[in-house]
Symmetry: C2
Subunit: 152 residues, 2 copies
Amino acid sequence: MRLSKRGEYGLRAMIMLAGTPEKDASLPMVQIKEISQREQISAKFLEQILLTLKNAGLLHSKMGIGGGYYLAKPPSEISLGQIFRTLDGPVAPIKCVSQMAYEPCGCPDEQTCGLRMVMGDVRNAIANILDHTTLADVAKRQSDTRKKLGIK
Amino acid sequence: MRLSKRGEYGLRAMIMLAGTPEKDASLPMVQIKEISQREQISAKFLEQILLTLKNAGLLHSKMGIGGGYYLAKPPSEISLGQIFRTLDGPVAPIKCVSQMAYEPCGCPDEQTCGLRMVMGDVRNAIANILDHTTLADVAKRQSDTRKKLGIK
DNA sequence: AAAAAGTCTATTTATACAATAGACTTTATT
DNA sequence: AATAAAGTCTATTGTATAAATAGACTTTTT
């Protein structure tokens, strides 16, 4: 049940953006280069990922000097599910239980297929977490943990 | 978060084995050929999968005429998690949250990594379902559904 | 001895993931 | 106007994994 590198890097970048405080009442803009260095990711690969996220409407960007990326919406309105699906596709382990991209699988009878029932549960469990966790939730959880540990 | 074909076929086969009633007080033995036909799976591919499951101690087999495969333990003692891990590897979406196969991922600080926290939740949600669902549970659910629908 | 089953390992093919490359566009600054 | 610093876009390559196929071998029953 692996998360791809694209998904991992994209989620990391978005989480980082959500945790970047606004400077001087301006937008919290971050460059590809900065993210790739902080997270140890190939800049070229990240570029593609952020572009995809931009085209999906989750990021905005500004070209030219002083430009960079910033969240298209407040962190509380961007769920991890949106990011995940944009980069990794459907959450469902098997197509016949996908809500966003249903396709029949090969079983003789979907209604009574035991595998389908269980995988439906798995899909729902994953989707519940990813769709109900926003970037704001993650940022808060991180800072709460830091506080609790007395770090930084 | 896809389930591989190996995983899918293996799970289907095991579920089928769990639903096969014993005939004449003998072991409920089923041949590769029969499973592959009923489930529309390449016999050669299934062969590998069942062998893997056998080597993992989940299936037993008998060679020669009248032979075939049968569950190594009662259906109530085989969880879907065991089958899944045997065929598809760790449940965790990211290595650093795997209980069975931990490996550090690249984040600067694991303790405060937001992605890791969420993926830990996802791992637990999936593992809870797969590890607490046995083949007997699946068989029961299937037959209950059939009964409710008045099928067969 | 023959037939019907599983065993084992190697090889091939297909697909998807990960990464790299390079030419192009926009914007700010000088 | 020129230059530099950013993002844009698409194509290509490399690599790993998944999926499938192949074939020679072993065991068991009749």
